[in-house]
């Protein structure tokens, strides 16, 4: 399947990654090449094969319903680019 600029721009938008206009074209080429390469999988017959969910059949006990974490606001906020009165500060979200 061929990849065009519009698709790459849409995917970059979904991934929230700014791609400068002049980098778009080379990126289309790189991604197209990688995708063409992985598309060789289409040749493999996977009829009746269940997709892998977890590599080893592990079963685990669930966590008990106990409060044993949190109450560490300083640690949570310590790396924040901006904070105020115990909140994270982020650019305005349009509602």
């Amino acid at each position: 399947m061929s990849l065009d600029r519009a698709t790459v721009a849409r995917v970059a938008d979904l991934a929230r990654i700014a791609v400068p206009e002049e980098q778009l074209e080379p990126l289309v080429g790189e991604l197209a090449k990688i995708l063409a390469w992985v598309e060789q999988l289409a040749e493999v017959d996977t009829g009746g094969v269940e997709p892998l969910r977890s590599v080893h059949p592990i079963r685990r006990a669930w966590r008990a319903d106990e409060v044993a974490d949190g109450n560490c606001r300083e640690a949570i906020l310590a790396n924040a680019p901006e904070r105020e009165n115990g909140f994270f500060v982020v650019p305005r979200v349009v509602e």
Partner: protein
């Protein structure tokens, strides 16, 4: 319920399904060990897992799983032995991981149903499509300062059950009944407190309309934010009428998400505010498939209490109540329990009347829930006993009820202390009757022509005795004195 919209060109039918987000009652979050309590200081109930910090991993809280299974069982739904947690990917500042862990292709609970109780005492089944477990997001605070939003992650990661109904709802009021019944069930089994003000129960409605008799569905709109019982019917009705207006004027309903504005009582488009989503769901590789074994399911089934429908049927059978009264009594488990304590060893119908009319009335006047009822069930039972014994009259009983409700004193104690015992001694009443007959010759004449005037004499006697006289006895004595026997 036979609800239709009469448009200019004909009758239209509503087709509506609800998506309810019910916050699971648990101490800790779905995938982290931080607390879930409401109303804490911002970001104090946040673990590094909830904050989406590097290298942090989710670990499933088994109690939340049990709560979801219990809910599924109570909705008589299929419990899926294997379900999968998937990631729903999108960017939002209140979503620290950049994805919400939810269930998509394989939810923990499949098809089930809810019986809604109609006002005429009948019921109607509304199908449940699915119930799945997912994480809640954090909270965004706008407007604290120009150009910024403040983020509190306390709610982030709290377990939610998303309960999706079939598009079976045909009247706005049915949506309310559905929500009430769902909330009643959730509260019975203790999996969600149902508190809509605190956001533990949130509702979105999918609304479409079609001409009566048309088997096909119309284009639907999703109405967000119908977060109170009061607004659910309003929002659905407004939206259905809006769609009918569009269709009748030759327009096309666009599939979109709309927001209900409670102050204006209308829905408005969120278009432009919300771009096209591509959530890129895929199984969360940090979590194992969620497997349930039969023993667990059976244990949870055994732990289920008697549910509202079963209780209602039993109340009708055991106490001879009407379906309507039984339905009112079982809506809240605490109320049903209260009623059963009052009814134990007494007349069930009488108990039901007192609980529904007097008690519920008094509670609602004071704005109280049944859990905070100042009058213990034993006290109301005592009052009914006083009534049954003939110690007090029905009228006095109502006064005693008010006093007991307001002061918390026992009914018997009130009756004794205030000398409210019914007078059943004819000797004490006869002089009063005689005096009244003597003083009102004209009324005596009237009574002979019009038997209704007897009631006037009875009323006067009751008044004169402070309501304590036994009304039946007074009636007999008045008739005798008037020579009507």
């Amino acid at each position: 319920m036979g609800w239709t919209i009469r448009g200019r060109t004909g009758e239209w039918e509503l087709v509506c399904g609800l998506e309810v987000h019910a916050q699971v009652i648990s101490k800790a979050k779905l995938f982290s060990a931080a607390a879930t309590a409401f109303g804490a200081e911002p970001n104090t109930q946040v673990s590094p897992v909830d904050a989406g910090m590097p290298g942090m991993l989710p670990v499933l809280n088994g109690f939340c799983v049990e709560q979801a299974v219990k809910t599924g069982l109570a909705l008589e739904a299929e419990i899926n032995r294997v379900s999968i947690f998937e990631r729903k990917n999108y960017f939002y500042p209140d979503l620290p991981q950049g994805y919400q862990i939810s269930q998509y292709q394989k939810p923990i609970v499949g098809r089930g149903w809810i019986l809604i109780d109609l006002p005429d005492g009948g019921t109607r089944a509304i199908g449940i499509t699915r119930l799945h477990l997912e994480q809640d997001a954090g909270k965004s605070l706008h407007g604290a300062r120009e150009g910024v939003t403040l983020i509190d992650l306390n709610r982030c990661g709290v377990a939610l059950m998303e309960i999706v109904s079939e598009p079976d709802i045909r009247a706005p009021e049915e949506a309310v009944l559905y929500l009430k019944k769902l909330r009643s069930i959730l509260r019975y089994i203790g999996t969600c407190d149902g508190n809509m003000e605190e956001g533990s129960l949130r509702c979105d409605a999918n609304v479409s309309v079609r001409r009566v008799g048309d088997p096909n569905f119309g284009t639907r709109c999703e109405i967000k934010n119908v977060n109170s019982m009061r607004f659910v019917a309003k929002a659905i009705e407004y939206e259905a009428k809006r769609q009918v207006d569009i269709l009748e004027s030759g327009g096309v309903v666009e599939q979109e998400t709309r927001l209900f504005d409670a102050t204006k009582g209308e829905t408005r488009s969120m278009r432009g505010k919300e771009e096209a989503h591509d959530y890129r769901y895929f199984p969360d590789p940090d979590l194992l498939p969620l497997e349930l074994d039969e023993a667990l399911i059976e244990r949870l089934r055994a732990e289920l209490p008697e549910l509202p429908d079963a209780k209602k049927a039993r109340f009708v059978r055991q106490y001879g109540l009407s379906a309507y009264d039984a339905g009112v009594l079982v809506a809240e488990r605490a109320a049903a329990d209260y009623f059963e304590k009052v009814a134990a060893g007494r007349d069930g119908k009488l108990a039901a009347n007192w609980v529904i009319n007097e008690l519920f009335g008094a509670l609602s006047r004071r704005g109280l829930e049944i859990d905070a009822c100042p009058l213990p069930a034993e006290a109301l039972g005592e009052l009914l006993d006083l009534l049954a014994e003939g110690t007090i009259s029905g009228k006095i009983a109502k006064d005693v009820f008010q006093k007991a409700f307001e002061t918390g004193r026992g009914p018997r104690e009130i009756v004794e202390a205030e000398g409210l015992r019914q007078v059943v001694d004819a000797g004490a009443i006869e002089p009063v009757v005689a005096r009244l007959v003597a003083e009102n010759p004209q009324q005596v004449e009237n009574a002979k022509k019009n038997p209704k005037v007897v009631g006037w004499f009875v009323g006067q006697v009751m008044k004169a005795t402070g309501g304590k006289a036994n009304p039946g006895l007074v009636n007999d004595l008045v008739r005798k004195a008037l020579g009507l026997e």
